[in-house]
Symmetry: D2
Subunit: 332 residues, 4 copies
């Protein structure tokens, strides 16, 4: 960590600050320049509050050199983490496709779709039971009943299931869920993250619409700090000024995360784009960029889907995507 | 609501869609053009799911004409809402300043600051007990103890208190809190909003960093839909590409919200800017733009504050701001 | 085009507006609703100024249905445009890689790199002679001499060249340049676009950092309106809040543009990311998303490059990317 | 300037780099830490290319400590610059309002508006002759004739005039123009900036929609580097995800620029918001935030204006704004 001091910092101020920092176990190196004095802080700075330091009157700016995430950091854990779900592996050389409807709507619907996507190459079934909706007047999901129906689909197809949690109080409903999803809007719901750190289940952590890659990793760090290292990161588009797509898929996040962390990264082209027509090119792009998996919305009857119909593929369309993805995987 | 159909929509498709929409109690007006056919949907469209309609193959785009928020909409409730807190009024011609430290740190600290800001013109005491922090390794607040200390400060100064909730399970700890704050990161924590709709306390609802003004109003709508109309909106900066300020204060949100909703709007220049030096000009700007109040971080010893020291005013600085704000209020 | 009128629009106002619109050759269809009246405007609305209409007191909002770009619109020209450059084709099924240094620095440098990238699969040589730099104190390019050196490299390798123009006054220096590049910062330099509309050379039009896809197409429309239909669009990253990459590559722009326009689209992963390490995954992603070509910075000695060294590939790295791109092209 | 080296940098690499930097006249201070080695570079670093340094393999990141703009920097020129225009002063304690139509449309129009805004308190007349329009099919301004009409209005009212240049070739048409405006889209048209550096006229430099405050100052630096120090900066809104306003006025830019530069800053609330209803609150906010002036669109007949009618005030509305602005100025 580097602290740049103002030109007018007095010797006494500098000495006091140096003493205070050394009291926290850091080594301090001083460089005096024509316009600024620089303190290089060496040691474990992950627990130093940058903002506190910036608040000091004599300090002009502070720059972290090590990333503030430690457990999620590839620098300290060079090998890829591989997350196991019912015998399937995600991460490293292992690639999985999660597919299914936005919302679970009925037993018939979820079972049909589950069978279709399995046949087409998906290995994990997605489906929303608790649905975060911008409007209180929109369909909010089947909630506990939706989870029951997902479990029935799992029983009939053997596919592990992933579904979103919105409230830590619901955790016992998720006992048989295989992967618990934290949605984009809850990426910084720290109370929820702390609870998920205490369970051992794999967590699919979606990046928030306006969250930086570093904030995504800090949220992963919350879960790991609680004791749960089974985290799959998910890029699903960020908010920009462009309006032709619902969000802007930050495809660069895939190789950037690969460099920063050992955790696997999957991409959700359905929410990123908001339009079925864009899902296939974005799924192929994510695969080519090195993602460890995909999460794709598929619906047997998109026109009558209770939400997100506009971005859902039909099982036939999904089959084509799945085949091309497989062939791109072979190239890499 | 207007639905623009694709050029190749067949007569049969159009008739089926018209019938389906009429079955939902809407009147449908058809305009046929050279390139497109347009359906004008008249009636109560607040419960029609726009995305579902856009998902239909024959539909090119859908445009809402009435805003999707109804209870928060000034069109249906032209008079300003005035929120009462322990005899104080916020909204309409009434202006209040909320001030206090980012975090409650000790009894001495909160009582001292409370007395200072009251003397300087603040009418409501702010202070964080539960703190949402990006890093799990940063100070997380005194939690329940922090609320106790705020209540002690209230007892000694007579000021009502506002503090942030992060988990609906904590609601009974907030029984004597006067205004419950929903932080920016929880603006779309819909499970929390639903719970707050069931209580009767005033809610200070902060806009999320990447949330549109419409989404802010939809979140207010969640609370009102539950039965609680006591909502104060808060603009606190949005995330942009600019890095000289922590966030970008969206000052236009003040007059825009004034036009769209009857709910009062306060501005938090401390979090919007992140630097004490910017707080005074932004506080004056917000007042001039027509805000119904301000929320300002004040600390007796910013350099040693446990968080947000960089953006806290000293009591002396706050006194100056408070005086200038009063004089601008007289001009308006 | 749809104009939504305010509830309080009088019959007389509506009649006057209708008459005025009909005087411009439009058919007007009226739908009256409980809260709003809607005018559907049918006919050639591309010359109606939306903002002017929105300025009318009785009008609440205006929505275009047809896109405002006409000559670039795929709706009216369904077949892919194919741009020819010295016998090479870009667009439709034809894919080309443009590669070379950020800046032309010396004869030896540009000739060496040209030979390397040609051997590795590039078909067009890029190189900056006029360089737009944020700082007046940074290297501004070899200017006219740089173009001379590019022409020498063309002579020795047979590769057509693409280089950026910053000033219409320099057009005669570009007489033997094969593709004239308009940089991101000049995408809305309309005076320059008008001049380029008058020449017949292929134009590589880069999307501005904060420009929408629609604005990119409107800038293409400026060039076509002048008589030059030889336009290649280029996505090179947009400005967002994320700081780990220099810009955010908007990969969705590739399939979106494919739907909206007949013009070919190439992607520049070097400027989009700003880091050599990210160029390969983004180049593969762009190829998989359906781009018609790539533009990649290659330097024989990135460490000593006079600009953009951080994002340049070595010839060896470029060879690997070029091979993988070819294999992904086979999959599609 | 600080360069953070990678953990695996060899002693030989560090020595070579140190030597190379010392050869450029810099003093180099070395701090070795557990994970990183830090070089503190002391001396005149304004001509070191940050990107070149970042391109070196052994370098992890580079941080400037001094701002890269030197002539525009308040640190080296602590006193406010005051720009004189026909005897009027802008900057320091002097405040001026520029008002007039978006476009000059006719002699009658511009003379009438000029008289109205002068009577209402404006001191400088604005009006567009050359108009940058997104669409080639929209009205492009009266061009040279527009400047003639502005000069006639100047003659009749005595007001100095400000109007936009889009092409350095037009400079002789601007010989009698008092302030030359560089529009947002041309803020990084460096060829134009260089030409304006050679003339002595005051330049009103508007911030680009996606340009940082630092880039705005670097563009000012281009003009100063050419020899022209008469620069007025203008904040006119940046592009964000919010759609209720055309752009997002970055009100914080006013106090931030005040801290960074000695140049005066004016605010254009008309282009920032896009709606007449928002102009008054934003004009008051900008005044309260400390702007040195305002630029406001006024039209005698907004409904029939040839562009930007939606955001133009009537002379009556402008009179009210101008009065309130004056009273807020008294408070400050």
């Amino acid at each position: 960590m580097i602290a740049v001091l103002k030109q007018n910092a007095t010797n006494e101020q500098i000495e006091n600050l140096t003493e205070w920092l050394e009291g926290r176990g850091l080594n301090v190196h001083l460089s005096r320049g024509e316009f600024h004095t620089i303190l290089g802080l060496i040691g474990d700075t992950s627990k130093v509050d940058t903002e506190l330091l910036e608040g000091l009157e004599m300090v002009e700016s502070v720059k972290r050199i090590s990333e503030p995430f430690k457990n999620a950091n590839r620098q300290f854990h060079p090998d890829d983490s591989i997350i196991e779900v019912c015998g399937l592996k995600i991460g490293g050389p292992n690639f999985q496709i999660m597919a299914g409807p936005c919302s679970v709507e009925s037993e018939e619907q979820i079972i049909n779709i589950a069978k279709s996507v399995k046949a087409a190459g998906a290995s994990i079934l997605r489906g929303g039971a608790f649905k975060p909706r911008t409007s209180p007047y929109d369909f909010q999901g089947l909630r506990a009943d939706g989870i029951e129906l997902l479990l029935e689909a799992k029983k009939q197809t053997g596919m592990p299931i992933v579904t979103e949690i919105m409230n830590a109080n619901h955790l016992d409903l998720f006992e048989q869920v295989d992967i618990i999803q934290v949605g984009a809007r809850n990426m910084q719901n720290f109370e929820l993250l702390k609870e998920l750190g205490l369970c051992k289940k794999p967590i699919l952590l979606k990046r928030g619409l306006a969250n930086t890659i570093q904030e995504l990793l800090m949220s992963a760090e919350y879960i790991i700090a609680g004791g749960n290292r089974n985290i799959i990161l998910c890029e699903r588009g960020i908010r920009t000024f462009e309006t032709y797509s619902r969000n802007t898929l930050d495809i660069s996040a895939v190789p950037i995360l690969y460099g920063l962390t050992h955790l696997p990264v999957v991409v959700d082209p359905s929410h990123a784009s908001g339009f079925a027509r864009l899902v296939s090119p974005l799924a192929l792009a994510a695969t080519a960029a090195g993602a460890h998996g995909l999460m794709i919305e598929v619906h047997n009857d998109p026109v009558n889907a209770m939400c997100d119909g506009a971005q859902s593929l039909t099982p036939e369309e999904f089959t084509l995507v799945s085949q091309k993805v497989g062939r791109i995987r072979e190239v890499l």
